[in-house]
């Protein structure tokens, strides 16, 4: 039998509630929570979806460490040196709590949106009607693919000591995504993002505690992205002397490939009976 202590919250008050459950071999914390909700207390609220560490819904603090419930096995928790037969589950740190283990992610998502997490071109029409093929070589791809694995679970923000002190800090998730796009050779949006990143609540508020990378369940390493982002901003401000140049060399297919395929026109329609 395993004792599970959960910090309950009904929006006005919070209290610890204990449940004794029998985990099966290979059970995860999410299995225990589902068991509790089915057999002990159907009022317990928590988010979950894929149950395989892909959706990032079941983020919570388990025994003091922000983790995904579906990726945390009971056997692993029991093998930890300081484990005292109780699994302590809390909502994610530094987020407002809606109910029990469900936290409000509005601020998190808004910060993600604020860094413009999409490809920006100097000529916006290129996004509607691409004049050429925008190529990314495998070597260039390695500069940012690691940061593309983010599933927006929010664990890095819960672990970050700076977010804990400064609610306006952009946060490790958004900053890592900013670097992901800045390092992309197809992107030309450095100047647009600089006003958000190069501020006292932006990239310079990070003091490299590394907890974001430590708790990341997908190996994204946001701490590395943020330090590389700092280096990139300094390089563009002081070394290159002008902002706006890309991190990697942009391959211009229209110059290197004479017969580069053109994008289809906007009113292009597939005719279903074309081949009949």
């Amino acid at each position: 039998m395993t004792r599970v202590r959960i910090l309950r919250n009904d929006g006005s008050k919070q209290w610890w509630q204990e449940y004794d459950v029998e985990p099966r071999k290979g059970s995860t914390v999410l299995d225990l929570l589902l068991n509790i909700r089915e057999t002990h207390d159907h009022t317990l609220a928590f988010r979950h979806s894929c149950q395989m560490g892909s959706c990032g819904s079941c983020g919570m603090v388990i025994n003091g460490k922000p983790s995904l419930a579906c990726q945390t096995r009971i056997a692993d928790l029991k093998s930890e040196p300081l484990f005292n037969d109780t699994i302590r589950i809390e909502p994610l740190y530094s987020y407002p709590v809606i109910k029990d283990l469900v936290v409000d992610l509005d601020d998190f998502v808004n910060k993600h949106k604020s860094i413009k997490p999409y490809i920006i071109r100097k000529n916006p029409e290129e996004l509607e009607e691409a004049p050429m093929e925008f190529r990314v070589t495998p070597a260039e791809n390695l500069n940012f693919i690691q940061f593309d694995y983010c599933i927006m679970c929010g664990l890095c923000v819960a672990a970050c000591p700076t977010v804990s002190l400064d609610p306006q800090f952009t946060g490790p998730q958004a900053l890592a995504q900013a670097y992901r796009y800045i390092a992309d050779p197809r992107d030309e949006g450095f100047n647009e993002r600089q006003s958000i990143l190069d501020t006292s609540h932006g990239v310079w508020r990070c003091h490299f505690a590394g907890s974001c990378s430590y708790v990341c369940p997908k190996g994204v390493d946001p701490a590395k992205a943020i330090q590389l982002l700092k280096r990139e901003i300094l390089k563009r401000k002081f070394v290159r002397g002008k902002a706006g140049a890309s991190v990697a060399v942009v391959v211009q297919p229209e110059k290197s490939i004479s017969n580069a395929p053109k994008a289809p026109p906007l009113d292009f329609k597939m005719e279903a009976d074309q081949h009949e």
């Binding site: 390695l142 000591p161 907890s211 190996g219 994204v220």
Partner: protein, 151 residues
Amino acid sequence: MNKRYKSGLFNSLNPTRYNLERWSYTLHRITGVILALFLIAHIFEIYHVTLGIAGWNQTMEELSNLGVIELIGMWIIAGSALYHGANGLRLILNEVFGLLLGKPRLPEYPYSPLSLGRNQKIAIYTITLIVVALWIWAGLYLLAGLGIVRW
């Protein structure tokens, strides 16, 4: 909006359950605050120069009368300056030059972030060893100043 759960100074400075770099971060912050307080106290101390030779001599005499308390205080300040300076150099390597972080790569399970990898650990342990050695030396130097240890 509801209040943010467990945010604030204590949570920010609590490194338990986290990585070595988080402990380093906590120590860096605490030593930084100690140095800031020392700087304020030091400015207050040298302000007594404006009181003339007699006033300055009296201040120096009062400070020297503190004895062991001054010794411990100076030792803590020396340790703070050593750690904050040495760790600051590591952070400059990380943040300005992007060193000790490893190159971005395709994440492979089981994930182990390179920015918290071997290079970073070697840097932190080296810094700790050097700082502890110099801190012991500073302690002996201060004790010699009081005549407790022969230098």
